[in-house]
Each structure stands twice: as C-alpha cells, then as structure tokens.
Symmetry: C2
DNA sequence: CCAAAAGTGTTGAAGTTACACCCATGC
DNA sequence: GCATGGGTGTAACTTCAACACTTTTGG
C-alpha cells in the first residue's frame, strides 16, 4: 500500500514553499509558471511544492522542494501551518494540471506550508520538472494564485511581518554586506510603512548584531554609505535568551 | 481508493487537540488514558485525536474530536502546526495500540495539532470509544506522553503563552463570572511568573473589556472580591483593530 | 555649486516597574 | 481582635515618537 512504502510519494500530504526575497526595494516571492492553457494569469502562477515521500519528515520535504528549485541548502525555513479544505482543488484548470503530473489527481491533499527567506543574489532560479518558468514576483502586486495558494501567501506575509518584529530574521534576505539604508528599506517593504531613519538606526545598533566594515559604497552621487556585516555570534546568543521587545 | 472516497477516514492525516483548562490555580490539559498494558504512565496518556474524514476540513475535524470528547461546540480553537516525523509511532506500545483501533496501523501519519481553551466547569469529560478514561492533568507535572504528544504539548504551551501576551484570549478559560484575582492567577499560571497586583489590575482595566457586576464573593474569610464579566462586544472591536501591545 | 542620500541628538509624552497601607469579612 | 486576601496611588525610570541640519560625493 502506498502509505506504507517508505520510498513512495504519499498521495495525501504535500508541502508548499513561500520563498521570499528582497530586491529593488520590494518584497518578492518565487513562483512557478505552469505549463498549459490558462485563461487568467493568476491561475498560471503557483507556489512551488510537492507531495512528500513516506520516508521523509516535513522539514526535509520542504528543504527538498527548496533545493530542487533554488539549489540552496540550509536556509531559513519556518512552518506556516496546514491548509486543506476538501475543495481546495476546485478550479478546473488546477484539476487538469494535476492530472498531468500526479498518479492520483483526485486524492484529498492537505498541504503543509513553509516560508523561507533567501538572498536573491544567491540563486539563479531554474525551471524544474513541474514548471515552465520560475520567477520573482512583487508580493504587493499579486492578486490571486492557483489552488488556495493566495491564501497561503497572505498568511505567510502576515507571519513574516509578525516574526520580523520579534526577531531580526530579516538578515536572511540581505547579502553579506549591506548598508543600514538597505536594511531599513527591507523593513519598510515588509511592514509596509515608512520608518524614521534616526530611530531605525538607533534601534538596530542597540541590538548589537551589526559589525561595521571599512567598506563604503563607490560611484554613488551622494555621500557613500558604510557597509555592515551581520554578526552571527551575537545573533545566536540573542536567540537563546529571547528578544523581549523588538518592535518597529 | 481510500483517499478519494469522501466518507472514508483518510489514513494519512490526523488531528490532535491540546485542550487547556484552568482549575485550582493551575493550567491543566485534558488527556485520555488508553486501554492496555503500559509499563510507564507516560505512554498511557495521550492527546485526544483522530484521523480526518476525506470530506471534512481540518478545523471541522478538530471540532469533531473536541465535541465527541467534551460535548462542547464553538470553542476557542487555534492551529499549532503539523507534526510528522516518519518515526513518530516508534514506541512499541503505541504500535500495539494503533493496531487495536485502526484499519491501517502502519501508515505514515502526519497530524495537525490544535489547542483550545475551555472552562473546566462547562464540561464533564466522559470516556469515548478510544479512551478508558479522560482527565485533567496539570501541565507542569507532565513529563512525557504517547507518540510525539509531549512535543506537541510543549509547542502548544509556548504558543499559548505568546498569544496570551498579544490578545486577552485567557477569558476563554474563565467562567461567566470571575474576580480579578482569579484572572491574575490564570495569567501567572500560564506565564509561569508572579505579577504585580496593582499593575495587573491597571492594565486589565485599561483594556476596558471587563464589566463590573454587583455580585461579590460570599462566605470568604476576607474582604469579598467583586465579580466581573467579560465584555464581548468591546473585545471583538479590539480584535478587529488589533491589540498593539499587551504585555505582562 | 548643486543634487542626492548618509549620518547624527534632543526633547516631551507615554508606558512600565516597584512599592505599602487600609478595608471587609469569618472565626 | 486577628488572620486573610481585596483593593487602591505615586514616583522614578525606561522607552518611544517626532523632528532638522551637516556631511560627502559625482556631475
């Protein structure tokens, strides 16, 4: 039986990944464009995901989807929750598409959603077996997605926002070197509100998880900004003790 | 096939409920005691749960388990997340027990965990088909449970604690009438730290979700405390707008 | 020298913490 | 009258929000 054989895909449980990135001052999400004829663009786009194997745990499955798509390992990954109305695969185009890739397209599937944070420069998303194309899309321009993926995305953004105000997880979206202004723009994009420059710098610096470098911007038409690095040692210590307050 | 027939239990997905109550100044959890021979008490106790039907959504399934066990409907219910290491059913006694109640005891099962908050006086937990006995246990005295239920409980407590500091959900644990001291003891039990009486009262009253009544304690050996009621209308308005800060 | 973004302190308001005494009741 | 828990205010401290000008660079 399917659900006993460890090497088999389990027909009832999938993982979906909301992969966030930050570029051009906007929060982006990595979506796959599916093969086939679609009337509206929204139904064409979906979160990357797959059924789980019986032998792998949920985190492993999410990591597998992530690695297949992005080539990245060991990146920030957090479970959002389980989604699974019985009728989540009600759109006809979704049914057609499933028939084309799954052995048992009519099965009841519940999906465990994860979100992850990556630095867009670390990856070159490449088409996978499921996807015609893979691209970054600005979160604030997305109106709808396949299946119940829009709802999952909405929930992911909500949790990201909340988490960002508890812990400085946003560094996972930045490159190795960054300016404080870039950092601020990331916070503003995710929280969707402007922040005061002086208050922002004070708050970030008080956390003491930045290391100043001697590097500065070059070829800018204004006063060049200093580059900082993220101090992982202090960050980990903070995680242990818990950040009590960290609100913007 | 199982996973297509809407009236069938889905062999791969279950829900488990962490049902919290508050009595004798302690946070309690409702656990079932399983039939059978168990060496250690811990393995004997488990969270109530069941496989889901293919036709029901996850929330419905959790509500069904809850209602079967407690007779209560429409109570506070929140998803904790999905749990599902492939080896979560590794303890031998757990395997034996599953064989006794499930058609497909070897199947890979992932479980969606929920926690809920009830007033212990509203219910008379009664043995169900799965359980020899159902009882309240103090959370802080539990060392281990069947399957991975101890881990689920730990996560539930963590989320409850966090949520309680964001929103005044604790009222779901209280009866219709309560004194402010009782309320404070509930907060102290969940947060596991003493709170200042005057500061507590100030903070709660500022929320403006209490209605004072004319009732007072009777037959107490000290100054009788006033009973309050929970003002649901104002509470709902607050939920809409979001509580910004509500930390103890 | 002009345009553009970097970088830097202070002040008033609000919120949080710590703390001690009188009150009403049953026995 | 005494033991018990109910109920109340204030002062020091910390945190947060609002706000404007000087600096450095490229063109």
């Amino acid at each position: 039986m399917d659900s006993n054989n460890p090497k088999q895909l389990n027909p009832n449980v999938s993982v979906d990944c909301v992969i966030f990135g930050f570029s051009f001052d906007k929060l982006k999400v990595l979506l796959i464009e599916r093969e086939g004829d679609f009337v509206d663009m929204a139904a064409r786009l979906a979160l990357p995901g797959d059924l789980i194997f019986n032998h792998e745990d949920l985190h492993m499955a999410a990591n597998r989807v992530l690695e297949e798509l992005t080539g990245l390992k060991d990146i920030y990954l957090k479970q959002i929750g389980a989604f699974g109305e019985p009728n989540r695969i009600s759109k006809k185009t979704d049914q057609d598409w499933l028939r084309s890739i799954r052995a048992d397209p009519g099965a009841r599937v519940i999906t465990i959603a994860y979100y992850s944070l990556v630095n867009v420069k670390d990856l070159n998303p490449s088409p996978s077996s499921f996807a015609k194309a893979v691209n970054w899309y600005p979160v604030d321009e997305i109106q709808d997605l396949a299946f119940d993926h829009y709802r999952i995305l909405t929930e992911a953004v909500k949790q990201l926002r909340s988490e960002l105000q508890q812990r400085p997880i946003g560094f996972n979206l930045m490159g190795e070197y960054f300016t404080i202004s870039q950092l601020q723009k990331m916070y503003e994009a995710i929280l969707n509100k402007p922040l005061d420059k002086r208050n922002f710098r004070r708050k970030i610096k008080k956390l003491d998880i930045l290391s100043a470098t001697d590097l500065k911007e070059k070829n800018v038409v204004n006063k060049p900004a200093r580059f900082y690095k993220f101090n992982e040692a202090i960050y980990n210590a903070l995680i242990e003790n818990g950040f009590d307050n960290f609100g913007f």
